[in-house]
């Protein structure tokens, strides 16, 4: 691993080095200054915002922080699948958002069948089983579609990353159109199980337990992913494959199987994210593109192919999104998207390959 990093630095970094250091010193100090200003603003000066400064209204601050963390949990689940697939196969799966939405729709369908109502499903109608079973149904289907894509369209052209990206774009267009035909254009929502839909009090403010449930689920999944990659034999092979695939192949390991399993798990994670997202915000046409964007932002910030990067990227992005909504002056909250762009620009100008990414 360390040899890989050294060699990639040597091949692409050295020639730009003098310029890059100057540029990065400047942008680094700009970054630090910007961060300090943002902190000061949130803590003390944020008058005229919907949240008020944090020292005057700590409850609001805490709630916003929790919103950011819970959103980061969902972002992580989706983006970790994206980055896992890229890390091993160098495949940018542009259909990742479509798998997310497909799983969401299927899970909603299954839940409706299980509860026996097509509309107005109350949280009290939903027990744990009628949330978990749709979750597995949706995620499994997404994973199967992903695996199918891998075997038919992506396995034989590994290394041609643009061709693969365009193939998956084609597939995402087909999937989006077929889902529109099958599930219609109206927004649908999945219901959380009744057990997690109550509220708790935080600094005198109500907070939905379902969001905390989402965060807990993300943490469990993240831990499972960490365990799988770092403590099992297959995880070891995957990490070795990320660094040097021909060598792994030469050692007599059946890498095709490992690739298939990785693609399956990556798509499965998109599917789980889809069901969580459908319970959290609903499913509708266009959500696929939105979640492709979210995955892209997370991995661009964190670095493509790195799970650690997916954690960092999700946290940064989730927190920026939630704070932008509460701490921009009330007349300007619709500019929050600019802050996402600013975050991207900031990270890119300091580290073009993302926080934990290797130099391409």
């Amino acid at each position: 691993m360390s040899a890989e990093i050294v060699s990639s630095r040597a091949s692409s970094g050295t020639l730009h080095k003098p310029k890059r250091t100057l540029a990065s010193t400047v942008s680094r100090s700009v970054g630090v200054a910007a961060l300090a200003l943002v902190l000061l603003w949130v803590l003390i000066f944020a008058r005229g915002t919907s949240a008020e400064p944090a020292i005057r209204n700590p409850g609001e601050f805490l709630v916003t922080l929790l919103d950011g963390l819970t959103l980061a949990g969902l972002l992580f689940v989706v983006a970790s699948g994206f980055t896992l697939i890229f890390g091993l196969m160098r495949t940018v799966n542009m259909a990742h958002g479509s798998l997310f939405l497909l799983s969401a729709y299927v899970a909603i369908d299954v839940q409706q069948k299980m509860v026996g109502k097509a509309r107005n499903i109350e949280a009290s109608d939903v027990n744990i089983a009628s949330w978990v079973l749709p979750l597995f149904a949706g995620a499994f289907l997404a994973a199967v579609v992903g695996l199918f894509t891998h075997f038919i369209f992506l396995r034989w052209n590994q290394g041609q990353d643009l061709r693969q990206a365009l193939l998956t774009i084609g597939i995402s267009v087909i999937l989006a159109d077929q889902m529109l035909a099958r599930f219609g254009g109206l927004a649908q929502k999945m219901s959380w199980p009744g057990a997690v839909t109550h509220f708790i009090k935080i600094f005198g403010r109500r907070y939905a337990v379902s969001r905390l449930f989402m965060l807990a689920l993300a943490i469990v999944l993240g831990f499972a992913l960490w365990f799988w990659l770092n403590r099992t034999r297959m995880g070891m092979v995957i990490r070795a494959g990320v660094d040097d695939q021909p060598m792994v192949r030469a050692l007599g390991i059946n890498i095709s199987l490992v690739l298939a399993v990785t693609f399956f798990v990556g798509a499965f994670l998109a599917g789980i994210g889809g069901v969580m997202g459908a319970s959290f915000a609903g499913a509708a046409t266009g959500v696929d593109g939105q979640w492709l964007l979210n995955s892209l932002v997370v991995v661009i910030i964190g670095g493509l192919g790195s799970i650690k990067g997916a954690v960092a990227g999700s946290l940064l992005y989730g927190i920026v999104v939630s704070f932008a909504a509460s701490y921009l002056p009330s007349d300007y909250t619709f500019y929050s998207i600019i802050l996402t762009f600013a975050l991207l620009a900031l990270v890119l100008s300091v580290r073009p390959q993302g926080l934990f990414g290797k130099a391409p």
Partner: protein, 331 residues
């Protein structure tokens, strides 16, 4: 060079034929064909040409071209309208045009500078992200547009006389775009750009500023996209965020892919195929019997892209080219 040389004589004949057909189209084509299908083809072709210019000669597959066109279109809309959404400044249309193109080019410089240190798939992801952020920007920021978009945009009075005047403007600008790109490709800058595409490390060693070359190329392509954006809003009369959403953004790439992403001509060929398929699919007999209806057009287009990517990544143009180069698709 990634292009195959076509004998000059054949090239001359083809150019002449296309020019004659283009100029005389209003004489024989229906109004719908000329003022909708062909005009739309030319406008999309200009935008797609800027994408192909960047990808074939700069190694940068950009998904921001549609957004940059959109920025220009929104700028025109904000500048020239007198009421409705946006700033409605009520400027002279020509002033609006110049401001819009300048503004969009500045945006292109910023995007170019931000993404110039990445290549290949990273570049594609990054420019796509910019695009989608741009879409949300225009949907959310009601100061400039909001979800409804800017409508009632009038082109300069000179285009009022006859609808095919916009068509001729698009035709002339398409020709200029094509000639301009061909000129730039052969200029010292263009050669350096192709050098940067093939081996950035070596070009840097030779003393070329790699990211500056990429940024300038991106800005130039952005300028051309901005022209397409201005034409689009003049032709369409309105612009809304939906028309720069993720699906249209991808469709521009799809147009380039259908036409052939390694040659400039592919832009207009792809655009024509795309627009014609979109407009005339229902006229093909029995096509609805096999489940292809106009509302399932996207499935067809998606399948076409997958098919092209599986069979011939060079697209339609590649079929005519005997020695397909896979430059763009190599790692």
């Amino acid at each position: 060079m990634s292009t195959k040389r076509v004998p000059p004589a054949i090239e001359g004949i083809v150019v002449l034929l296309v020019a004659v057909l283009g100029i005389s189209a209003p004489l024989f084509g229906s109004s719908f064909f000329v003022n909708f299908v062909l005009t739309r083809t030319l406008i999309l072709g200009i935008a797609a040409a800027s994408l192909i210019f960047l990808s074939a000669y700069g190694g940068m597959v950009s998904l921001s071209q549609f957004l940059i066109a959109g920025v220009a279109a929104f700028a025109v809309g904000n500048a020239v309208t007198t009421s409705g959404n946006g700033l409605h400044l009520g400027w002279n249309p020509w002033l609006g045009m110049v401001t819009a193109i300048a503004l969009a080019t500045i945006v292109a410089v910023i995007f170019g500078a931000l993404s110039s240190r990445t290549t290949g798939i990273y570049f594609l992801m990054l420019t796509m992200t910019f695009s989608v952020i741009g879409y949300y920007f225009f949907s959310q920021v009601t100061t400039f547009s909001g979800a409804g978009g800017v409508s009632g945009v009038r082109p300069p009075p000179v285009f009022d006389k006859h609808p095919s005047r916009i068509y001729y403007a698009a035709l002339v600008l398409s020709a200029l775009t094509y000639a301009g790109f061909r000129y730039v490709i052969r200029s010292p800058f263009g050669l350096a750009m192709q050098g940067v595409r093939d081996d950035p490390v070596r070009m840097a060693a030779l003393g070329f500023n790699v990211s500056l070359h990429r940024t300038i190329a991106f800005a130039f392509a952005g300028f051309v996209s901005a022209i397409a954006g201005v034409l689009y809003v003049w032709w369409n009369g309105q612009i809304d965020p939906k028309s720069i959403a993720i699906a249209p953004t991808l469709s521009l790439l799809i147009i380039a892919v259908i036409g052939g992403i390694s040659r400039l001509e592919g832009a207009w060929l792809g655009a024509f195929t795309f627009v014609a398929a979109n407009s005339y699919i229902r006229l093909i007999p029995l096509v609805d019997k096999i489940g292809i209806t106009p509302s399932r057009f996207n499935t067809l287009i998606g399948a076409l892209v997958v098919l092209i990517m599986v069979l011939s990544p060079e697209g339609l143009v590649g079929i005519f080219s005997r020695r397909p180069s896979k430059q763009t698709f190599k790692k």
